[in-house]
Symmetry: C2
Subunit: 154 residues, 2 copies
Amino acid sequence: MELDSIDWAILAVLQENAALPIQAVGERVGLSTNPCWRRIKRLEEAGVIARRVAVLDPTKVGLPTTVFVAIRTARHDPEWLATFAAGVAAIPEITECHRMAGEVDYLLKLSVRDIAHYDRIYQRLISEVPGLNDVSSTFSMEAMKVSTAVPRPS
Amino acid sequence: MELDSIDWAILAVLQENAALPIQAVGERVGLSTNPCWRRIKRLEEAGVIARRVAVLDPTKVGLPTTVFVAIRTARHDPEWLATFAAGVAAIPEITECHRMAGEVDYLLKLSVRDIAHYDRIYQRLISEVPGLNDVSSTFSMEAMKVSTAVPRPS
DNA sequence: GATGAAAGCTGCTGTCC
DNA sequence: GGACAGCAGCTTTCATC
């Protein structure tokens, strides 16, 4: 689907604040309500807008700590991968899991209350998934920038 | 603010789909429209729900590649940090930046079109911010799990 | 004191120009 | 893309348990 400048202006607004009335979105991009609504509907139907979600304040819900976990493993067979994927999916504190190129095989991002909480998740993961030989975790001291918004590719 | 089981049920729903009418949210958590609406309003006013955002499909907007960049630096003075923070803030392809504990000083997450696109961002960053001695980037081959939702702390 | 029903009103949705 | 009309859903008030 082709996206023009106005589409990107709409996407920029909605990526920041999806609670705005369509009329307010239209004003910010120079469109009246109806054509703005039609564009948004088109973007949703095309799947460009995948979903609308509520973002919580990590501190206010008691999960202020972000941990990144780099995993290396000797196991790469499909059965092991299925076990690993199931374990990752079952632990809600794991918010992201990427299969990586390079030295590290998998990179996880977790949201936890504190180090003790992380340790419980860590113990759970290694007990559910065998063969996690090299697991190195690093804690975020400060989230300088955290955004779900992506720019128009230049 | 205290969050009970029903609040967490509401938050679980809204973290998955914030476009749902309040009545539908209420049905899923066993509440009629009015008390459900009051709880959501309370969660918003308390800042537990920080915002509502549209999440785009990275593939459909031409940014299918996720890159993690680990940075080590010898510079830690406030002036350097201000320059670094400004550079990070100014580059929209950088979606996250964390100041880390341990060996790595900063961890960045980027959304880019391809390796060439990443290289342009990389060049821009090191030209704007001096003293980035050790910059190692790793590409995500597959996003096995990506979520903005966090669980009720156990 | 919190819930559920019911009314008013804002803003979403579709048609026509 | 813009104007207008119909209507669904949000927001408030009031009675109830």
